[in-house]
């Protein structure tokens, strides 16, 4: 479904991503692991078109989409949730969700139907519908940005550190939701620091270090390979 070949990203003189190649098959949940600064987020943002790749190819269902703008990627069915958890704080929850469906604004009935489906998953959002998104808690904001990304009915979801800075209980909730999204058939590329939890829900995993892919394999194998842990675990147990 998603094919990345020799992707490079540089910020000035800093080469954040150095020739990353990876593949996400349809319906798969693939995790990208690595310590802070390994280039995971840059890889994800380059796929989403939000960061310009200096070299390499991105293919979506075989079509070359390298260098596409972020808005074009959304239209092609790739939605991204950056780790910065950017809700539009002055807009209400409802308006945030409406923006998520910007590419489908001709299909209001479908949009409202989808919104109700997401409310079943995140009932708290229905309660907060007319509050400014800036007033939500961190966990609620995370649910909002994920629900908002889903409003475009993506074929592929790029999730960057969804558990970052959240309370353990909320983290469990988020991972439960990721699992259910996968079961509903969505293709997901996940970037996580919480390796144990991420590997538990993933099919396949890649480990990045200093801008390169150091290892890859089925999630269970990566989880079992103790020698890799120092690469991606950082300070966490």
């Amino acid at each position: 479904m998603l094919d990345i070949d020799s992707l490079e990203v540089s910020y000035g003189a800093v080469r954040a991503v150095r020739g990353v190649s990876l593949r996400v098959r349809k319906g798969e949940l693939v995790t990208l692991l690595g310590a802070n600064g390994a280039g995971k987020s840059s890889t994800l943002m380059a796929i989403a078109g939000a960061v310009r790749a200096t070299a390499g190819r991105v293919r979506l269902d075989g079509a070359d989409v390298s260098g596409a703008t972020p808005e074009a990627m959304v239209r092609r069915g790739v939605a991204a949730v950056p780790e910065t958890r950017d809700v539009f704080p002055d807009l209400t929850v409802a308006q945030n969700l409406q923006l998520g469906a910007f590419t489908r604004r001709r299909d209001q009935a479908g949009v409202l139907h989808d919104r109700d489906t997401h409310f079943a998953r995140f009932p708290i959002l229905a309660e907060r519908l007319h509050l400014p998104a800036g007033n939500l808690s961190g966990g609620e904001q995370q649910m909002l940005v994920i629900a908002r990304a889903l409003m475009s009915r993506p074929a592929v979801l790029l999730l960057d550190e969804p558990s970052l800075g959240l309370a353990p209980l909320v983290v469990d909730q988020i991972f439960g939701m990721i699992r259910s999204l996968k079961e509903s058939g969505l293709t997901i590329l996940l970037v996580e620091q919480n390796a144990a939890k991420a590997l538990a829900v993933s099919d396949h995993a890649y480990v990045m270090r200093l801008g390169r892919i150091e290892a890859e394999g089925p999630a269970s194998e990566i989880a079992a390979a103790t020698e890799l842990k120092s690469l991606y675990l950082g300070a966490e147990p």
Partner: protein, 295 residues
Amino acid sequence: MNPAQFVLDVLSLGGAYALMALGLVIVYGILRLVNFAYGELIMVSGYTMFLVSGSGLPWLAMAACGVIMAVAAGIATDYLAFRPVRAKSVTAVLITSFAFSTLLQNAALLFISPRPRAVPLPELFSRTVEFAGVITPVRNLITIAVAVIMLGIFSWLMRSTALGIAMRAAATNFRMARMMGIPANLIISAAFAISGLLAGAVAILWIGRIGTVVPGIGLQPLLIAFIATVIGGMRSLQGAVLGGFLLALIDTSLNYTLPQDLLKFRDAFTFSLVILILLWRPEGIVRGPASGQRT
């Protein structure tokens, strides 16, 4: 001094100032571009009305032509002056907008005339009327009415339409807005078009006070919009409106109280105020929409 007169003066001046400020801030809020060519949109509108004045169209149709051309000129600013340098430095964008302002002014000098040209105005504009015990020009009441209507439309647009909400989102976090599938070019062109629309409305009200258009007519509205925007907080739409009315209050009060030989230094005072405000709060008094962190 009659208090009703004072209030009426502040409201009619403030209405015009608020529209001027809003037209500048709608572009600045989204693009961080101080559009020096904004005043020339007003000029374009004025000259359009001059050019169609012999056509025999009803006045409202001529005014509509003026507004439409201001919108077109706003969009042209985007395509000719902004897009080619968008990816480059802030400084480059500022300089092109300054150059584009010079370009439009000199085009007017070259193709029309350096001398003032009369703009058609309905007879109503020059009439006076007694209102709340004061005699006031009808155009002041028209200004207040137009300002209220335009601000109403604008507020509805930004609150209730998909485009307006998308523009507000883009003003807070342009990158994230694009990641919602909102096309950057659409938002930018819309901002310039709305800026032109407001400039067109301002042109009719502003030129309605003078009756003629000259190539340099845009400078004063631009300066007013600068001050009002800075007072109101650079990036906040409500702040721009508030700033417009505040500046009108300051100007009118100074007009009533300052002696003539100090009054001529008014611009020096107001612009010193601008500097002080920016030093105190570079983002302006009313804080704009909280910006999401960027990586």
